[in-house]
């Protein structure tokens, strides 16, 4: 009976463990998205700055 309890406990642990891994995959995908968005945002504000500088130089 003790063995039963142990097996059951291990089963539960594994179940949560695999849910954790699945969730982590999602998090990683989101992380890539965030990094990409930060990159685009920085590029766009850099571009804007460059253009502003150009405009100022032209004036």
């Amino acid at each position: 009976y003790l063995e039963d309890v142990k097996i059951q406990a291990r089963g539960q642990l594994q179940a949560v463990e695999s849910r954790y891994k699945a969730q982590k995959k999602i998090t990683q995908a989101f992380e890539l998205e965030i990094l990409d968005l930060f990159g685009r945002l920085e590029k766009s504000s850099l571009l804007k700055k460059l253009e502003d500088d150009k405009t100022e130089a032209a004036e």
Binding site: K24, T27, E31, I34, L35, F38
Partner: protein, 267 residues
Amino acid sequence: VYYEKVGFRGVEEKKSLEILLKDDHIEKLCTFSQRFPLPSMYRILVWKVLLGIIPPHHESHALVMKYRKEQYWDIHHALRVIRFINDSTPQVDVFLRIHQLESGKLPRNIAFPLEPEDEVFLAIAKAMEEMVEDPIECYWLVSCFVNQLNSKHKDSLQQLPKMLEQYLNIEDNRLLMHLKTCAAMSKLPYDLWFKKVWDKVISGSCKILVFVAVEILLTFKMKIIALNSAEKITQFLENIPQDNTDAIVSKAVDLWRTHCGTPAHST
């Protein structure tokens, strides 16, 4: 420091603590740490068990701490990704952000002003940081301690001011009147006084805090009576000399016993 100075009163107490840890009896552990000061070598271990960070069984400590560690680094990494923390963020601020994310209270923007509960968290984190070397262990202790304060002791925390008034009235009515006249009763630095009585609060009784407050007020009675505005009193109490903290705490424990009998039955 308090425990080292006051000392662990006897070899017997140390032995009984060892037996408690082995036999995994949480309730007895609570009672024990309310009655006797914990020896420093066991303090952190006992806190971790009492706060539910690790189970009482020694065999699963390594595995459970591994999960705790991973969880800490998972969130730590996430906070870096969303730029809430970086290499120069002070440790206690890192703890706060991790705690906020875990409890779903991370502000929309890092520039948001801190809530009063965040200030309490930081005060506790700073005190804990001085006692616990390992940052991960420290985070878990602070976070679980704060959670326990908010759930288990919420009601009693709100009653603290009322209880303080009640006991101060018994101990020294004149001092209470003076504080009331200056309207200083509502501005007492409770969070600072917390630091002095961790063990008792962690093991389930936050009433001890009232007696620490009473004892501090009694100890500095003459100075307080000489001050005549709430601001001056608060300022004085926030900067009271630290050298006789030990004496104050042990007197507070005595006072607590006088008013409440055996600690185990008075939470």
